[in-house]
Symmetry: C2
Subunit: 162 residues, 2 copies
């Protein structure tokens, strides 16, 4: 388990661009809306090039789900560590707290449809659902009803989203 890549990484060191980009994006999303700001503007304010943006984020929509992605990773860790499903979910949910409202929510209020936002969020839901399904199938090894499994997993993720 490499923790933080101490200080002897081969190659050029990162210029701490990631945090800079996140901050610039958060600012601009407040000033103008999400849909109203281009990647060019973000990288321009962050003082990095456009190529660097895609070096850190796979798509523009990823910016809306930074916090959620962190939470999902923690959930994954706990599940892999053998925690039971409900415990892991509650623990992670408690960690995030209400002050950590993801940008996605605040933006969906501002924007008209929020259609693109919800679309960008779908892969996260799918991932959580997949994680929980796997964990559930490990828990109840005997019950092989795949469909019922999916249903339970989906209803759980639905509860989480709410």
């Amino acid at each position: 388990m490499e923790m933080k890549s101490e200080h002897n990484a081969p190659g050029r060191p990162r210029a701490s661009s990631r945090d800079t980009i996140e901050e610039a994006a958060a600012e601009l999303f407040l000033e103008q809306s999400y849909a109203g700001t281009t990647i060019d503007e973000i990288t321009q304010r962050a003082g990095v090039s456009r190529a660097t943006f895609f070096n850190y984020f796979a798509s523009k929509g990823d910016l809306l789900w930074i916090d959620a992605d962190h939470a999902i990773e923690r959930l994954d860790e706990r599940l892999n560590a053998g925690d039971c499903v409900s415990d892991a979910v509650m623990a992670v949910a408690a960690e995030v707290g209400p002050e950590r409202v993801p940008l996605a929510v605040t933006q969906s209020d501002v924007m008209g449809t929020g259609d693109e936002i919800v679309a960008s969020g779908l892969p996260r839901v799918a991932r959580v659902s997949s994680l929980i399904r796997a964990a559930l199938s490990r828990e109840a090894a005997g019950v092989t009803g795949g469909l019922e499994l999916s249903v339970r997993a989906n209803s759980l993720t639905g509860a989480i989203v709410a």
Copy 2:
């Protein structure tokens, strides 16, 4: 209720472009995948201009959900006609039948991730959910528990999707 706009519409008549586009797209999606065909190719084969495409479809992804959209509209009609929810859902589901597999499904098998496909499908799910929520709230006028309403609506849509 205007049925089909008999034959005396003012203005230029449609050149039956819509069906032509749908057919061309279906062909190309089979030959090459969904992601592998551009809108230019589709309109080229259909013999219409690119602008005309966006005159009939709001986005490329809409092509995958033509059948589903028809079903949704029928569902809407039935609900507005006062049918009870479960009856309307069953009726529409019976209408579609298994031979009418939407392109979305066949394509998601072919493609790698199917991520974009599922994203393009989300608005449909949202719409169905919205319709059902509205109908349910009309049915049980007394129960104002908005959250429980949403939960029931969502679980119903989930069942439909499956």
